[in-house]
């Protein structure tokens, strides 16, 4: 647990089953399916538990079909779980939807809550009415959002005339006009160029610091997570694989590095393997004079490998490549576990 405060969100043993129809093959199977559909239960979310403290920004990631959206649906109150509990500030999202929706905001990267044909500000005024924001608060919040997002220039343009980046800035403002306690972001940077992405990230950092909004972020872009979230929850096949900070993830998993060695003269890989004999290192020849040693930092220190190689061969250059966070996460998705988890 973070020490930012008492938990705002408390999720315990959350499960959600779907009943899906499984199609039989062929024409005959199709006919049989019509008469007697074969249904089976699929568990999309399986005993998920976590707490989120007030003011925390948490990345919720997982491969497609891992159960992210199902969890978010339950947390936003539009899906009832099969079992388990969710408590957000004393409210149960799906049961108290009327009260609960007042306190949340959401941005879905692929949808809009703005009126396409009307000026942005019209949608904002509507949101002010929907969430009953007093005029003074509305003006103050809009001013603040304008300052951070630079909305002024296109506030009076119809949404359909905006670029994707401009529209996303408006979506963020729309989700925050009523100063919600809890913000759900689903792929907020999808399709944005590098500059627009950066401005969205900067904004989210600012808003968390200045308003203490609790943010739950799902994304496929780990750059978002790396820059925004200290904490990440990885979900796969409906289960929580990892819950902790991003760097901790590196320490937890089998921390593989690759030592790229450029030699002065061509040497067979066997010669290099001989130099590191006794160490758990695998050699492969890349191109020409380039060789790569793969090993895990847990088993052997990089310095030891480098020392042996340099002593044995005439080395021109060395480079030690760590796995990127993305590669680590990809590895986790592939294996379906996060190494030695507690």
């Amino acid at each position: 647990m973070d020490d930012a405060g008492t938990p705002l969100i408390r999720v315990r043993d959350l499960c959600r089953d779907y009943s899906v129809s499984r199609r039989r093959e062929g024409v005959r199977g199709g006919v049989v399916d019509l008469l007697r559909p074969r249904r089976e239960t699929l568990r999309a979310v399986d005993r998920v538990s976590f707490d989120v403290a007030s003011g925390e920004m948490v990345g919720y990631i997982g491969a497609n079909g891992a159960g992210k959206s199902t969890t978010i649906k339950m947390l936003t109150g539009i899906l009832t779980p099969t079992s388990g509990t969710v408590d957000v500030g004393g409210l149960v999202p799906w049961r108290d939807r009327g009260h609960y929706t007042r306190h949340i905001g959401a941005v879905f990267g692929q949808r809009t809550q703005l009126w396409w044909d009307l000026a942005v500000v019209e949608s904002f005024r509507l949101l002010q009415k929907i969430y009953e924001v007093p005029d003074a608060d509305y003006r103050r919040q809009l001013g603040r959002l304008d300052e951070l997002l630079g909305l002024g220039e296109f506030l009076h343009q119809p949404v359909r005339k905006l670029s994707l980046g401009q529209r996303m800035r408006c979506e963020l403002a729309a989700a925050l006009l009523h100063a919600p306690r809890l913000l759900f972001l689903d792929e907020p940077t999808i399709g944005l160029d590098v500059v627009a992405k950066e401005s969205v990230r900067t904004f989210l950092r600012d808003i968390r610091e200045s308003q203490g909004t609790t943010v739950l972020l799902t994304t496929h872009d780990l750059g978002d997570i790396q820059q925004l979230c200290r904490r990440v929850i990885i979900i796969d096949h409906g289960r929580v694989l990892y819950d902790g900070d991003l760097e901790g993830l590196r320490a937890r998993v089998d921390d593989r590095v690759a030592l790229h060695v450029e030699l002065r003269e061509p040497v067979p890989s066997a010669a290099l393997a001989a130099a590191t004999a006794g160490l758990p290192v695998q050699w492969r020849e890349a191109a020409g004079l380039l060789h790569v040693a793969d090993f895990s930092r847990r088993d052997v220190r990089g310095a030891e490998v480098i020392k042996r190689v340099v002593n044995a061969q005439a080395v021109l250059d060395l480079r030690l490549a760590e796995q990127s966070i993305e590669e680590i996460v990809r590895g986790i998705y592939r294996r379906g576990d996060a190494g030695e988890l507690p």
Partner: protein, 343 residues
């Protein structure tokens, strides 16, 4: 459940005046949205004129072909002048009461856009009705009135037997609008249960042409059909207001006709409310709200997009907003019995 010091989210309920202000805002925005597409409605004036002209010539020919005599002056209880008024008012009324709630709602449900509404403190049925009112205000000013301005001098509109009936007709058409909106809302809700609701929407639209009395007055139908339609809500959408104008509902039965409409408006709203709650419960239990827009794959999807019209094809992941885009191309309310669906 939370321990001491936990950040509690206060319970909250919208007050009455705030509710009125909110839904008035929907009326206003719907009006403004339609205004953005006003150019498309100019051609609609021409189309409606053509429909009225077609019916005018058809009924003129039918009346002319009758043998001479006092009985022959009336057909289905209407004189030719009344029949022409019936045709004009039916079509003019249709241009006013028409809306696309069924298509919009079913589109939002099947594409998962409805999630955006469900996570807001909103009453979707009231929101849809408010938007229909805003749309109707636009339609009245910039569609129905221009149609009347063109059609009335061309074909001549006999005045009602009593001047007060102008007002009652207008009130009756307002009730007709509400009834139509509620019917459309109910049809739209079907999308929660059906994978592809567009067929139902289309069938409903064609059926409405007959069951509301727009195409032919009920008095032309055999007795048993008249009995059936009298028990259905559809007559409240067009037949009742037009008959009020023609003075066929004098005295007590005028009040009765208006009450009947009001009863249908109320009854259908209650039914819509029940069906909506049931549908939302169904979907939150079944998990059917689609979260991510489904990307087009395969020929069947392409066909669906083609059928949906130009507005649908512009983006892979369509925001809520392009629903109005696709909507506007077909929302003028072309009578489907006469033209192809895609006009």
């Amino acid at each position: 459940m939370n321990g001491a010091g936990a950040p509690a989210l206060p319970r909250w309920r919208r007050g009455g005046p705030a509710t009125v202000a909110l839904y008035l805002q929907f009326v206003r925005l719907a009006f403004l949205k339609m205004l953005a597409y006003r150019l498309r409605y100019y051609t609609g004036v021409v189309s409606y004129t053509v429909f009225v002209a077609g019916n005018y010539f058809l009924f003129s020919a039918i009346y002319a072909s009758r043998p001479e005599g006092a009985e022959a002056a009336r057909l289905g209880g209407l004189t030719l002048a009344q029949m022409i008024a019936y045709v004009i008012l039916s079509w003019a009324g249709r241009s006013f009461t028409f809306n696309n709630i069924d298509r919009t709602l079913s589109w939002q449900v099947s594409k998962g856009e409805i999630a955006v509404q469900l996570i807001k403190p909103l009453h979707v049925q009231t929101m849809m009705l408010s938007e229909a009112l805003g749309e109707a205000a636009f339609r009245f000013l910039l569609f129905t009135l221009p149609i009347l301005v063109v059609v009335v001098p061309l074909f001549g509109l006999a005045p009602p037997p009593h001047p007060a009936l102008y007002g009652w007709t207008l009130l009756s058409f307002l009730l007709a609008l509400v009834v139509n909106a509620q019917i459309n809302f109910l049809v739209g809700c079907l999308a929660f249960y059906l994978k592809n609701v567009s067929g139902v929407v289309r069938a409903k639209m064609i059926m409405m042409e007959f069951l509301t009395g727009v195409l032919v007055p009920f008095t032309f139908f055999p007795g048993w059909v008249q009995t059936v339609v009298a028990w259905l809500p559809f007559q409240a959408v067009s037949y009742v207001p037009v008959m009020i104008y023609l003075g066929q509902r004098p005295g007590a039965s005028l009040a009765g006709a208006l009450l009947l409409q009001a009863a249908w408006a109320l009854g259908l709203s209650v039914l819509g409310r029940w069906f909506w709650n049931r549908s939302v419960r169904h979907v939150t239990l079944q998990g059917g709200v689609r979260w991510r827009p489904r990307r087009p794959q395969g020929p069947c999807c392409r066909a669906a997009r083609a059928a949906c019209g130009a507005g649908c094809t512009s983006r892979g992941a369509r925001p809520r907003s392009s629903s109005p885009t696709s909507r506007s191309s077909s929302s003028r309310g072309w009578p489907t019995g006469w033209t192809s669906w895609s006009t």
